[in-house]
C-alpha cells in the first residue's frame, strides 16, 4: 500500500515538475475560466439577486469548460513527447499510472481554483470562499480528474482530440456539475451542510464510482 502510494506520488510528481517548468496547464485553466466568468459579467446584467441566482452556474460552467483544456494537455504532452510508451514500459501497474495521472490533474484543477474563486467572488460580489464550497470544489475536482483522465487517455490518439474530449467529458460530468452548482447555490443562499447533503452524496458517489470504473477501464486504454 505504502509502495503503491509512493509510486502514484512519483508519477504525479513527474507531471507537477513538468508543469512547474512550463506552467502550461494551470495557466490555461485559470485564464480560460476567468475569461468565461468575465464574459458573463457583460452578458448578464448583474444585480445582487441575479448574481446569486446565476453565479454558481457560471462558476461551475467556467471551471468545467476550462478543466477540459487542462485535461487535454495532460496526455497530449505524453503523446507529443512519445513518452506514453515509456510510461507503459515502467514496471508499474496500469491502475497506479491512472491514479498518478488523476492526482496530477486533480492538483492542477485545484490550484487553478485557488485563483478562480477569489476573482469570481470579486466580480460577482457573492461569497463563495467558505468551508462548504471548498469541500464541494475538492469533490468536484476529484470527479473531473477521474472522468477527465480516462477520457483524455481515450481521445489522445484521435485526430482533433481537442474536439473529442469536451464532447465526451462534459455530458458525462453533468451529474457532478449539477451537484456542484446546487450545493454552491445553497451555500451562497446561506444554507449549511444539511441543505445540500443529497447533492454532496451524489458528488461523493460520482467520485467513488468513476474512480473505480475509470481505473479498471484504464488498463484497456493503455494496451498495445
Amino acid at each position: 500500500m505504502g509502495a503503491s502510494l509512493a509510486t502514484v506520488w512519483t508519477l504525479a510528481r513527474k507531471d507537477l515538475l513538468l508543469e512547474l517548468r512550463s506552467k502550461d496547464i494551470v495557466l490555461a485553466i485559470v485564464v480560460f475560466a476567468l475569461l468565461v466568468i468575465a464574459i458573463f459579467t457583460f452578458a448578464i446584467e448583474l444585480t445582487p439577486s441575479r448574481a446569486r441566482d446565476v453565479g454558481p452556474g457560471v462558476l461551475w460552467a467556467a471551471v468545467a469548460f476550462a478543466g477540459v483544456l487542462g485535461l487535454n494537455r495532460s496526455f497530449a504532452v505524453e503523446a507529443e513527447g512519445d513518452t506514453l510508451d515509456g510510461l507503459m514500459l515502467t514496471p508499474v501497474s496500469r491502475e497506479l499510472i491512472f491514479f498518478g495521472k488523476v492526482l496530477g490533474n486533480f492538483i492542477f484543477i485545484t490550484i487553478a481554483q485557488v485563483v478562480i474563486f477569489p476573482v469570481f467572488e470579486a466580480l460577482f460580489n457573492i461569497s463563495v470562499l467558505q468551508v462548504e464550497t471548498i469541500v464541494i470544489a475538492l469533490l468536484a475536482s476529484l470527479g473531473f480528474a477521474a472522468v477527465g483522465t480516462a477520457f483524455a487517455a481515450v481521445s489522445v490518439r484521435v485526430r482533433s482530440r481537442e474536439i473529442m474530449l469536451p464532447l465526451l467529458f462534459l455530458p458525462t460530468s453533468v451529474p457532478l456539475i449539477m451537484a456542484a452548482v446546487e450545493s454552491t447555490s445553497a451555500v451562497v443562499d446561506g444554507g449549511s451542510w444539511g441543505d445540500f447533503s443529497e447533492w454532496l452524496q451524489l458528488a461523493i458517489a460520482f467520485d467513488v464510482i468513476f474512480m473505480i470504473a475509470s481505473a479498471v477501464l484504464f488498463q484497456f486504454v493503455l494496451e498495445e
Binding site: V154, R159, P175, F210, F220
Partner: protein, 253 residues
Amino acid sequence: MAALPKIRLIWLGFTAALMALTLWMVFLWVPTEINQGNIQRALYFHVPVAWTAMVAIVLIAVASVAYLKTRDEKWDRLAVAGAETGVIFAALMLITGMVWAKPVWGVWWTGEAKLTTTLILFFIYVAYLMFRAYFPPGEQRRRLAAIIGLIGAIDTPIIYYGAQLWERAHPSAVVGPYSNNDSSVDGPVGLTLLVATIAFSVLFVYVASERYRLRKQEDEVMALRRAISLQALRVATTSDSTESISSAPAGGA
C-alpha cells in the same frame, strides 16, 4: 435484397404487421383521452421509443463488456448497431416528448428527470459515434469505443438520480391547460401502450440487426480491399524486382 434470408423477411413482415396494428390502435381504436385530447396520442409513440432507447444502452453496455472480454468483433458490431439505433430512438423520444409537452404543459422543455437523462445520454452516445467516426478503424478503435460505451452506461443511473434531485429542487414551470391532469394508464390506453411498446421493440431489433449485418459487410469489404491491395503490392514489387534485374545491364551500359 434477394439474399434476405427467410427469417429476416418474416421478421420484417412481423414488424410491419405490428406497426400497422399499432397505428390502427393509436389513431382509430383507442378512445380520445378526456383531459388532454388528441395530443395524448403522442405518448403511444413517446413511451415505446423511450423504452427502446434504454434497451439500447443496456445492449451497448453488454456488448462492450463482452468485447473487452472476448475481443470478438461481433460484439463491437452489436454495440455500434445498438448505439446508432439507440441515438435515433432517443432523438424520437425527445421530439415526441416536446411535441406532447407544448400543448399539455405549456412548454417545449422542462427539467423533467427522464427527459433530462435522455438528453444527456443522447449527447454521450452521439459523442461515442463521433469518436468512432474520427478514429481509424481497427482493434484500437473497437477497444476504446467499448470503454466509452461502458462509461456512458455506468453514468446512466447517476445522471438519472441527479436529474431527479434537480427536478425536485426546481419544480418545473408547467403552466399548460392540462398540467394538473394526469392521464390514467389502464384499459384501452394501457393495452395500446403495451402493443406499441412491443411493436417498437420488434422494430428496434429489426433495425439494429440490419445495421449489424451492414457493419459486418463493411468489415468484409474492408478486409477484401486490404487483401487486394496487399496482393497488388506483392505483384508490383516482384515484377519491379525482375524488371530491375533484367534492365540492370542495359542501365549499366
